[in-house]
Each structure stands twice: as C-alpha cells, then as structure tokens.
Symmetry: C2
C-alpha cells in the first residue's frame, strides 16, 4: 500500500494535509454535523449547542467523557468507532439526559491505513444516527508509529436533562432491573483477541441505550419524580462494580437473585472455562436500573418491547440491612457477597 | 522505585485500584470540582453544568475538544497538564465564550510514575484556578507500557457565549492584532527536546487567554455588536495557518506589516539557525484578533494593560483585494505571500 493511503505525521500538523483528512474523510462521512448555529462544517475553534425549546427553563446540562483504547479496533459486533459513540451516549443517558452533541478527538499512529480510519468514522456516523446525536467538533493528533500501537478515540458528550438521575438514589424496596444479558462485550472481545474457538459465536452488545430508556425515563410518580430513581451503565468492572457503587453511594444493601441474572449461555460457558466471573465483565449496551417498586413491572414491559431490552429482567431489590453491600441469593437460598472487583480481568476492552 | 509508585494496568480497570488513583491523586489535587449540582466528587457517570444567571436567555453553549500528545511532558514554561487546560480554555475564549467546565480524560502507559502523574494533575489545577474553570468529570485508561510512549490528555470544554465570535467575521478595513510574541511555545519545546543550547533561555507562552480577552470581548459597537469581529488562537501551524484560515473564511485579503509582527529575538535567532519560519510555529497563549477599525486602539490598550498582552501589536488589516490571501509587506515595501503551511515543521508540540 502506498504512502498516500496511510496516515503521516503531517496529518496531525494543523496545515493542508490535516484539512484534507478532515474534509475528505470526516466531514464527508458524518451526517449529523450541527446542534446549534456553529457546527462541524464551520471548522471553527469549537461549535455551539442550542437547548431544545421543549426543555423549558428547568433543566440541567450534563457532560461526560470517555477515551477508548480498545484492542483490537474491529471485533465481532462492533468496532472502536461504535464504542466511542455508544459509550458517551450511554453515560449521558444514565444521567437522565437527552444526548445533544458529541466531540470526536482522534489520535492516530503514523502508518495507520486511511481506509480503516474511514471505516471507523463511518461506524461512528451510523451509531450517531441511531442515537440521534450530532458530532459537532473534534481534534486530530498523530503520533510516531513506534510510539503508539493503535488508534485512540475520545468522545465527550453534552446533553440536557429535565431531571438528572443519579447512581445514588436507591431506597429500601426499590427494584433492580438489568436491561439484558451480561458480559457479552468483554467476552466477545477477549475471545476474538485471543483466538478462542467457542462453539457459539460471541458478539459484543455495544449499542446506544438512549432509545431503550427514553420511555422509562419519562415516567413520573404521583408527586412528579422520575420512577427511575437510580441508573448506571455496567461498563468496566461489569455489574459487580456498578451495583456495588450504587449500593455504597445510596447507603442501602442490595440482594440479587443469582438465578434471575440474565447471562447468555455461550458467555457463561466461556467464563467457566476461563475462570472468569461474568458479573465482572464489561458491557457496552446495558443499563442497571433502580425503580420504585410500584412501577417495576411497567418499566420492565417498556424495556422488553424495545429491541435492546428483550432480555431485561428484574434481578433483585434494595434492602435496609447490609448497608453498602451486595449479596447474591443462590439457587439453594444461601447468601454470598458480590464484592467490588479489584481490577477488570480483561484489559483494553473499551 | 517500587511497583506501588507506578501505574499498573489495573489503574485503568474500573475497580478498586482505579478508585484509589482517582480519589487519592485527582480529587485531592483539584480545587474547582463543580459547575452544577453534580460534580467531580460525586464520581457519577457524568456531571452537570448550570448556566450562570447573568447570561440571561440569549446565549449559546459552546463546546470544544483537544487531545494532547506533547513530547516531552515537562518543558520550560509548562507541562502537558497546563497545555491541556489552557488549550481548551483558549478555544472556548476565541469562540467568544466564558469557560464553565472542563473534562479530564487521561491515558497512561503502564509503568508511568505516579509522582509525575500527580505533578501533572497539580499543574492542571493551577491552570484551571487561573482560568476560573471547573474540572467536573473525566476518564482514566491504561495501555501496556510497550504500546504507548507517554501520557495523553484530552480536555473538552463547555462554555457559554452571549455572542459567539467566529473566525470568519473579517470585513475590509478591520484591523488585525496579535496579543504578543509569536513562536515561543514551539521553539522552546523543540530546543528543550533536541537539547539545543541557545544563549537566551526560551520559555513556552502556554497560558489561558480568557482573562486577557475578557474586557475586549465585552466591548460593543453602537449597534450592539462585538467590536471584536473575528478571533482565533494560532496553535498548530502558527500565525500562518490561523490568519490564512481567517482570510479564506471571511473572503477578504489581509496585509500584514512584517516589521510590526512581534517575535522574541531569541526565537527569531533560533528560527534562522534552524531554517524555520516563526510565523508557522505553534503558540499556546496567544490570540489573533480582528477588530472594527474605530476600536483598534482601545482594544490594544486593554490588551497591553494585562500581563499576557504586554507585547500586543497591531500587525495589519483586512482589504477587499487579494481575496482569501495573506500578504506580508516587507521593510522595503514589497509584498510577498504568506501561504498556508503544508504541515507543522515541529511534531508533537501540543
Ligand atoms: N477528528 C475530528 N473530527 C471532527 N472534527 C475535527 C476532527 N479533527 C479536527 N476537527 C475540526 O477541524 C477544525 C480544526 O481543528 P484543530 O484541532 O486544528 O482546531 P484547534 O483545536 O483550534 O487547533 P489545535 O488543535 O492546534 O489547538 C476544528 O473545527 C475541529 O472541530
Ligand atoms: N482522569 C480523571 N479525572 C477526573 N475524573 C475522573 C478521571 N477518571 C475518572 N474520573 C471520574 O471517576 C468516575 C468513574 O469514571 P469511569 O470512567 O469509571 O466512569 P464511566 O465512564 O461511567 O465508566 P467507563 O469509563 O468504564 O465507561 C467518573 O465520575 C469520572 O468522572
Ligand atoms: Mg483553535
Ligand atoms: Mg463510560
Ligand atoms: Mg484541536
Ligand atoms: Mg458510566
Ligand atoms: Mg485547540
Ligand atoms: Mg469513563
């Protein structure tokens, strides 16, 4: 492949080469390029975001960021571009916010194939279209090829929330729902990376959850509060890390019914063989929901009617005892603690 | 140095190790941690930003992002932490926005010294304090030590602008001002990196320009428009890239008086020896301003009264001829084109 088909250091130098890369690959492939009066096409020092009128006066702006160092860049069910968009859309969503705009900051090693770069940008675009969020500004830096092994993407998102939903809002009796099978992303990525040959093909769950959670997030109790009282996405550290944080921050105990936690058979088999706990594995298209008990069934039904929520399950509830701890009730009825993981067993999954 | 003093892969794994790093190094050293009801201390999936009341109803939200891959991390006059904060504050400022909040997304190679990490976070904090901007959310990822040579920081900023100022707003007769000496950052970094031994010590100009530009940005013409009609920061590609973009986007010509362009003697000597053009070298604490001619002297005086504007100069003006081109008038009166640089002659300066 010729030099022209690869990234050179000049593509990150702020001159004509960089302009060509941005114009030829980025602007051309991104379809939602504006969220206000200054957008991606303007190639100014930044871009603007207008707050949609339907928000009225009583909202908050929400901001979140994630860098992505996933290895390899392409894997079954997705690629780094899809993760970069979905991860940030999901963090905005689990704050109760409607995602409005994302940034796209890429760091590319010299020698990287421009065709792969374009594929990744196209994938970001598809995910952004699905999530109905604009990509409005970005940055492009290059690093010498021997000093970085692979492309890195940071996306930062801004959204707007009529009511912010925290991860610390659980009270005793609140019901815990997970929106689908756990562990798919981490195990699919690991298997692909290490070349494991499981019988069933494992596929990442990477997806935006804002569509899935839109209707449940709009439900209100009689006194006008969101029926979803706590919300978090179980990414690095999996459900174990996520639910322990929710328990600690809310000051409640949580009891999970082990047999109700949805795990794909292929994932549980793979985990058993590899000595991993599926509850500690990263997900990229799931949410853990705390919901007021009277509304649990209604939320569950709403979730199940969406393509990303078909395996949603009620998995447990908050209790006033065991403050800050998470207990698993096993099939024979005994209780065992689900601890906060020390590290994630699988590096570079997101 | 023991293992405990260095970053391990687990510090980016979403579990207890990462929590300790964030709590022990980041939260402890950052003093402005909130810009709304949910802030850095809450360690939620994101944070919130409230729009200051003095903005009234007629504002726009501005967003910008930059990743920083500067090599080396520490250099005369600054470090990657200071650049990361100032660069994003400056992009918000040159959009006419008041910076409200920043994110801090770090990517750290395994083996990196935690004491250096802490120094960098402290430097981010000092710069954020100076710029009066909060750091409200972030992300921490690790990469195997043989796959990344150095730390990378992305900062994304959100600000609010009563009137957005673009880089395309020049009309004929508008006056061009630069806020100080050009080329200091790139040449200081290059000299330090390559071990050049110039007689005068070269120091980066990295600084937040929001304080410097506050008063000039508030000036209004009789019909209520900003007297600053175009604004950009001359980072990668230097003044040459910046002013060419302003000319092209505004559809005007620009004539710069070569002898009026402020360049530090040490920088021009170094550039001569190295065969570089100081006008193509990156700056990290400067702005290029287009101002309505009647207000040029007033803006200049305001700039000169600020510590970061003492060397501010009127360097030229926009003209109706030579559309999209920048011409330098030399000391003997001849005109010569200042072209858009192809690439930046010095890689990894920001
Ligand atoms: N990867 C990208 N995706 C989307 N837009 C990008 C990307 N890289 C750059 N851009 C856009 O191109 C324009 C120029 O980017 P550039 O990074 O040069 O601006 P800057 O931040 O003002 O300069 P510097 O990075 O030198 O500080 C900006 O409008 C930016 O939003
Ligand atoms: N470098 C950092 N600077 C400031 N805050 C940070 C930094 N790294 C993480 N944080 C904060 O720590 C908390 C946990 O971060 P984490 O990245 O685990 O959240 P997340 O994005 O929801 O998860 P994931 O990155 O796995 O998707 C967040 O509140 C985040 O803002
Ligand atoms: Mg800029
Ligand atoms: Mg995240
Ligand atoms: Mg940039
Ligand atoms: Mg999250
Ligand atoms: Mg910039
Ligand atoms: Mg994160």
């Amino acid at each position: 492949m010729s030099q022209q088909n690869r990234i050179s250091m000049e593509h990150g130098a702020g001159g004509e080469f960089m302009q060509q890369l941005i114009g030829g690959i980025i602007l051309k492939n991104i379809s939602r390029r504006s969220a206000g009066t200054v957008g991606l096409d303007d190639l100014d020092d930044g871009s603007t975001i207008s707050i949609p009128e339907e928000m009225g006066d009583d909202y908050e702006i929400v901001m979140t960021t994630d860098s992505h160092v996933v290895d390899p860049l392409f894997f079954p069910g997705g690629d780094i571009g899809r993760i970069a968009v979905c991860g940030t859309v999901n963090d905005l969503t689990v704050m109760g916010a409607k995602p409005l705009a994302l940034t796209c900051a890429v760091i590319i090693p010299e020698g990287f194939e421009i065709s792969s770069f374009e594929e990744i940008i196209k994938s970001m675009n598809l995910a952004a279209e699905e999530a109905e969020v604009a990509i409005i500004t970005g940055d492009t830096k290059t690093i010498q090829g021997n000093k970085l092994d692979s492309m890195i993407i940071n996306t930062t998102g801004v959204g707007v929330a009529p009511k912010v939903v925290r991860d610390n809002g659980l009270s005793p009796d609140d019901v815990i729902i997970v929106t689908g099978n756990l562990g798919d992303h981490g195990i699919a990525l690991l298997s692909h990376r290490e070349g494991f040959d499981f019988e069933t093909k494992l596929v990442s769950d990477v997806a935006p959850v804002n569509g899935l959670l839109k209707a449940p997030l709009e439900l209100r109790t009689e006194d006008g509060q969101p029926v979803i009282c706590a919300l978090k996405d179980p990414t690095r550290g999996g459900l174990a890390s996520c639910i322990n944080e929710m328990a600690q921050k809310s000051g409640v105990g949580i009891i999970l019914e082990e047999t109700d936690i949805p795990v794909n058979m292929a994932v549980s088999t793979a985990c058993e063989m590899l000595g991993l706990n599926p509850l500690e594995i990263a997900n990229e298209g799931k949410a853990v929901i705390g919901v007021r008990p009277e509304y649990a069934e209604q939320v569950l039904e709403l979730l199940k009617s969406h393509k990303y929520g078909q395996n949603a399950r009620i998995v447990g509830k908050a209790v006033s005892e065991h403050k800050g701890k998470v207990l698993l009730r096993t099939s024979i009825g005994s209780l065992r603690q689900l601890g906060m993981p020390v590290g994630d067993p699988i590096p570079r999954v997101c």
